[in-house]
Symmetry: C2
Subunit: 251 residues, 2 copies
């Protein structure tokens, strides 16, 4: 199964991702990985259609302390679409002068939305098809740049449509907020300073919040599975959308 | 001044880029770099708004033999737009289910094209503005996916418009072809197997074509300055557009 991981912090935070745990699950997650970091409006986007165990890109991400407010990561076990660079999550498009990043866990059956707008899939996954449809519908729903609250309202209306075709755990961000939608398996937790004393650890993924955080710092995490045992990871209800801004869940 | 480098090969070719020469010109090219590799329809896009001398991303690109048919690289000396991730070339957008990559060398004065389509700049550069306008006009000019020849015709009509505002040396690709347009300083050369015996070398950039090439292999290179002294680098005439496919210049 694919693994999703999202992070939203209230201040650009040094984050280092470790994929070393993947060594133990190479057979299961050998079909690539991807990670996107927002820095203000800018975006770093790293993908590689090989196991994170052997990828020089994963090795670089592991060592580079990137200061980011929103991160979306994905580790892929191919189900729909061949193993190829164009099928690696997360996917990126531009809308209203901001980059949008999307990653999906799950399968959509018989999902062929009408794509008549400016967004077309490059690869062959149901996930990218859903992303293009979401971008198209967001663009149609708002004449000019909407607020995060307005975007959340629109997404709440749109997300049930792809979700009706199967499993649709997904992460979406434009750098201003992190939208997380769960249908079968997704958890979130909110954490505060000091992060450095508790390093998240998991077989597959770990995040190391570097030092230099301040008492005001907050961070929210979303993941396919809880990454720690001693924190209050909240499971998503089926079809639930959560919005994270400034390192915490928005009402 | 910024440096452009483009490559088009007739078969996915192991290419390694070296930015080590930048150490000697750190003061001049400290404002970041970027490089994009097409692999079939997929794209790897690496940018970093710091000197390639200190960038872990540059270090990774230098060591990773990526097999690619089209590469576009850019080393930035900021003129318009702050030094930030969102202002790093090359820029990427999607059109007709393919990624498009664009890098620009030069300045455009008083350039404010009407952007009423689906493409908006994320950063503050005149370059990204020109790219968004080109994408918008390409989308308007063709009802469905055009051939490379049709695209070349349309580009030949469009490119003089931004170029009228200043210097517009640029590289553009959708993975099928490499379009290169020069107004002041751009050169191209075509090379054939065996590449391994002649390593391109320059103070700023070098490309190492790894072994395992075959006698059928061809590659075309486009650069701001000739990268070698003993080859026949052909200067672009002002306003000239050259199209490269399958490792050679198309008629």
């Amino acid at each position: 199964m694919c693994q999703l991981l999202g992070m939203n912090a209230n201040t650009p935070t040094d984050v280092m991702f470790s994929f070393t745990g993947l060594a133990t699950r190479a057979a299961e997650h050998q079909d690539g990985f991807g990670i996107a970091f927002f820095e203000d409006r800018g975006l770093r986007h790293f993908i590689d259609p090989v196991s994170a165990l052997h990828s020089p890109v994963a090795e670089m991400v592991r060592r580079y302390p990137i200061r980011s407010e929103v991160v979306i990561a994905h580790i892929r076990k191919a189900t729909v679409g061949e193993v190829a660079l164009q099928n690696c999550h997360p996917f990126v498009r531009e809308l209203w002068g901001r980059y949008w990043v999307f990653a999906h866990n799950g399968d959509l059956k018989d999902y062929a939305p009408r794509l008549h707008g400016a967004y077309r899939p490059v690869g062959g996954t149901d996930s990218e098809r859903a992303f293009c449809w979401l971008m198209q519908e967001l663009a149609k729903a708002h004449a000019s740049v909407p607020s995060v609250d307005e975007l959340s309202c629109t997404l709440r209306e749109l997300l049930p449509q792809p979700a009706a075709h199967g499993t649709f755990n997904m992460l979406l961000s434009n750098g201003q907020a992190l939208w997380a939608h769960g249908t079968s398996q997704l958890y979130s937790v909110e954490r505060r300073h000091p992060f450095v004393t508790t390093r998240l650890a998991d077989e597959d993924l770990s995040i190391d919040f570097a030092a230099h955080t301040t008492p005001q710092d907050r961070v929210a995490l979303v993941a396919t599975q809880p990454l720690t045992r001693d924190e209050d990871w909240q499971a998503f209800a089926p079809g639930e959308l959560r919005v994270f801004r400034q390192g915490q869940r928005a009402p």
